[in-house]
């Protein structure tokens, strides 16, 4: 296991659209402060923001754990929520179960999970119907070099 250099866990509040994305903003500020390159920052923050919005929109409550190791940046989301019945289907660009309210917020166009996949180097999603979803994504630190 690579050595963990930094770790912070955030609580994500369901349905709180005004605050949604604040954790991702903080992650951006932390990475900027540590001098990471703009492409690594952008990829990490897209993953964090999309994952955070999914919790805000669908789950009851969730946590986002952000880690920096010697090898990668990791975003781990654990939520209590409805779960994803068919993960493969949810990964298809355009597939969405969003409500009109979510679409009015500018989300729920079926691009969230595809965006997370596109911007990460590894992605693992586990989900239990009625219980919740765990998402683990990593961005390798040498992949942009």
């Amino acid at each position: 296991m690579p050595e963990e250099l930094f770790k912070k866990t955030f609580t994500i509040l369901s349905r709180n659209f005004d605050k949604a994305g604040e954790n991702s903003s903080e992650i951006k500020a932390i990475l900027k402060g540590l001098g990471f390159d703009s492409e690594t920052i952008r990829r990490t923050v897209v993953v964090a923001f999309e994952a955070e919005m999914n919790v805000v929109m669908y789950a009851r409550v969730g946590t986002l754990t952000f880690r920096i190791t010697e090898e990668d940046i990791q975003i781990e989301i654990m939520d209590e929520g409805p779960g994803i019945p068919d993960i493969e289907q949810a990964m298809q660009p355009g597939f969405s179960t969003a409500s009109d309210e979510m679409r009015e917020m500018g989300f729920g166009f079926g691009m969230g999970l595809p965006n997370i996949k596109k911007h990460s180097d590894t992605l693992k999603i586990e989900s239990q119907i009625g219980k919740g979803t765990t998402l683990f994504a990593s961005i390798k630190l040498n992949s942009n070099a």
């Binding site: 659209f17 005004d18 949604a20 994305g21 991702s24 903003s25 951006k28 703009s38 492409e39 952008r42 923050v45 897209v46 923001f49 999309e50 919005m53 917020m105 500018g106 989300f107 166009f109 691009m111 969230g112 595809p114 965006n115 596109k118």
Partner: protein
């Protein structure tokens, strides 16, 4: 093209007069879907959108866009403008619709970032 030129072309009102509009932009991200904006890598692009909530500014910040143009003369809430100020993103609003905004910008040499 500079943001000042874009402002004049589109008849924009500037909601964040404290920011410099001499910055150049050459690409445009135009969508009401925030994940559509995030899907493409185009730092320094101009974001054109009809979505005026606070998430539009968060998305602009994540996507590293240079400025936001809100279309159809929509009302923009103070929370949206305040976050844009915090993130130092110039905010403009035009009475034109999405089709005309994109058409005018393209006629003047701007490229789509998508």
């Amino acid at each position: 093209m500079t943001l000042e030129q874009i402002k004049n072309l589109l008849g924009c009102q500037v909601l964040t007069p404290e920011f410099d509009l001499s910055n150049e932009v050459s690409t445009v991200l135009a969508s009401d879907g925030m994940s559509e904006i995030l899907a493409f890598h185009s730092p320094g692009a101009l974001m054109v959108t009809g979505l005026t909530n606070i998430q539009s500014v968060r998305t602009a910040d994540v996507a590293d866009v240079r400025a936001i143009v809100y279309i159809r003369g929509k009302w923009i809430g103070e929370k949206t403008i305040e976050l844009a100020r915090q993130k130092e993103i110039p905010v403009l609003t035009t009475p034109l619709g999405m089709f005309d905004v994109c058409g005018i910008l393209r006629e003047h040499g701007m490229k789509g970032a998508m």
